[in-house]
Amino acid sequence: MISFLIYKTILVIVIFAVSLVVAMYSTYGERKIAAFMQDRIGPNRAGPFGILQPLADGVKMFMKEEIIPDVSNKALFILGPCIAMLTACMTGVVIPWGDAITIGGEKYSLQITDINIGVLYMFGVLSIGVYGVMIGGWASNNKFSLLGAIRASSQMISYEVAMGLSIIALVMMTGTISLKEITEQQAGGNWNMWNVVYQPVGFLIFLICAFAETNRTPFDLPECETELVGGYHTEYSSMKLGFYLFAEYINMFISSAVIATLYFGGYNFPFMHDLGLSENLITILGVVALFAKIFFFIFLYMWVRWTVPRFRYDQLMNLGWKILIPLSIGNIMLTGLITLLRQKYHF
C-alpha cells in the first residue's frame, strides 16, 4: 500500500514537472519558430541560443507588481487563474505516457490511473476548463474582459459539441473509452494501423476543435488584441497572468498528447515488438515516441499560429455549428454503417 502510494506520488510529480517544463519550453519554441518563420533571430541573449529565456520570463512574471483592481470581485479574481491552471494539469492523469516498466519483478505502469471512463474524464475536465476564463473575465469587472470571457466560453461550448461527436465515432470503432485500451488496440503488427487511418475525418474535426478549445490562432478571439485589448486577462498582471498564459501552453501540451494517444498510436511505434528489444527498453522508446508525436503537434500549433490569420467571430461560429457538427454526425453515421457491414460480412 505504502509503496503503491509512493510510486503514484512520484509519477504524479514527474508528470506534473514534465508538463511544466514542456510548457515553459513551448514558449521558447514558439518564439523561436515565429522568428524563423518571419526571418528573424528570436530570443538569443539568455544563455546559449537564448535557452534560458523561459526562466528569465518566469522570474520576470514573479517579480512584477501584482495588481488586483479595486472594483473587482477579489476572491473570484484569484480563483479564475487557479481554475485555469488546475484544469490544465488535471487531464494528464489519464493519459498513458508509456507502457509498464518492470523494476525488480514489479510492473509499474506509466499511467497515473486507468479509469474506465478515460475519454469522458478528459472531456469533463475540458468542459470545466471554461470556468477559469469565465470567472476571471467577469471578476475583473472590465468590459473587455467580460467580452473576452463570453467569447471564450461560447467558443469552447460550441466546439466541445463537435469534439465530443468526433470522439463518439472513434469510440464506436474502438468499443472502449479507456485511453489505455485505445492505445493498446493501436499496437503494431498484422496491418493494425493507427486510428487516424480509420478515422481521418474524425481526426481533422478533433484537431480543429482542439485548436479552438485551447484558444489558439486561428481561433484566439477571446484575447484578440486588436479588438479586446487583452481579452479576458486584460486586468491580470504578474503571476496570475502567468497562470493564464501558462495554462494555455499546458493545454497545448496535453491536447497534443491526447491527439497522439487517440489517433496516432500513443506510445506505440512501428515494429516495436519485431526488433527483439527488452520490455523496459521498448517502454522507454515508447515514451520517446509519444513525446516525439507530442512535439510534432505542438509544432503544428505554432506553425498554424504563424501562418493562418485569425477568423472573424461569425465565421468561427459558422464553422463550428454549420460545418463541423454536421460533418461529425455524418462521420458517426458512416462509422456505424461500416461497423455494421463489417459485422455482417466479416472483413
Partner: protein
C-alpha cells in the same frame, strides 16, 4: 471505512453548497456554489460505482448548462439591489410551506433504515451494462426522448429566430 468518510465529506459539501446557493446574495456566487454542488453529486455517483453517470453529470450540468447560466447572469449583470422585494407575509408563508415539506420528507426517512431494499446489480452503472439496459429494456423511452429533444430544439429555434415578414 474510507468510503464512509468520503461519503460524509461529499454529503457535507453537497448540503453546504446547496444551502449557499439559496443563501448567497450575489447571483454569480449562487451559480458557482451550484456547480460545486453538482461536483459533489458527481462524487456520490462515483461512490455508487456509476462512473459514466458521474462523468456525464459533470460534462452536461457543470460543463454546459451551468456555463449558460453563468453566461446569462454575467450579461444581465444582476446584483443584490435589483432583486425585487418580497412582502413579509409571502416569506412567512413560503417558510411554513417549505418547512412542512421538509418535515414530511424527513419524516418519511423514519423507519427506512430497517426497510428491505430491492437489490439491483451493483455494476449497473458501468458503461456496458448501462448501454445494454438503455438499448434493451428501456429502448422505447430512449427513442421517445429523442422526440423530446427535437421538441426542445424546434422550440428554441422558433423562439430564437427573427420574424420574417
Amino acid at each position: 471505512m474510507m468510503i464512509k468518510y468520503i461519503f460524509y465529506f461529499l454529503a457535507f459539501v453537497s448540503v453546504f453548497s446547496a444551502l449557499m446557493v439559496v443563501v448567497s446574495k450575489n447571483p454569480v456566487h449562487c451559480v458557482l456554489y451550484l456547480i460545486m454542488c453538482f461536483f459533489s453529486i458527481a462524487g456520490h455517483y462515483v461512490l455508487l460505482n456509476a462512473q459514466f453517470l458521474a462523468a456525464v453529470h459533470v460534462i452536461v450540468y457543470a460543463g454546459a448548462i451551468m456555463v449558460l447560466f453563468l453566461f446569462v447572469i454575467m450579461l444581465l449583470n444582476l446584483n443584490t439591489q435589483s432583486e425585487p422585494h418580497k412582502s413579509t407575509w409571502l416569506k412567512f408563508a413560503a417558510a411554513i410551506t417549505s418547512g412542512l415539506l421538509l418535515v414530511i420528507l424527513v419524516g418519511t426517512l423514519k423507519g427506512s433504515e430497517t426497510m428491505v431494499m430491492p437489490v439491483g446489480n451493483p455494476n449497473a452503472g458501468l458503461i456496458k451494462n448501462l448501454g445494454n439496459t438503455l438499448f434493451k429494456d428501456f429502448l422505447l423511452p430512449f427513442e421517445v426522448s429523442s422526440i423530446l429533444f427535437l421538441v426542445a430544439m424546434v422550440g428554441a429555434v422558433m423562439l430564437g429566430k427573427k420574424e420574417i415578414k
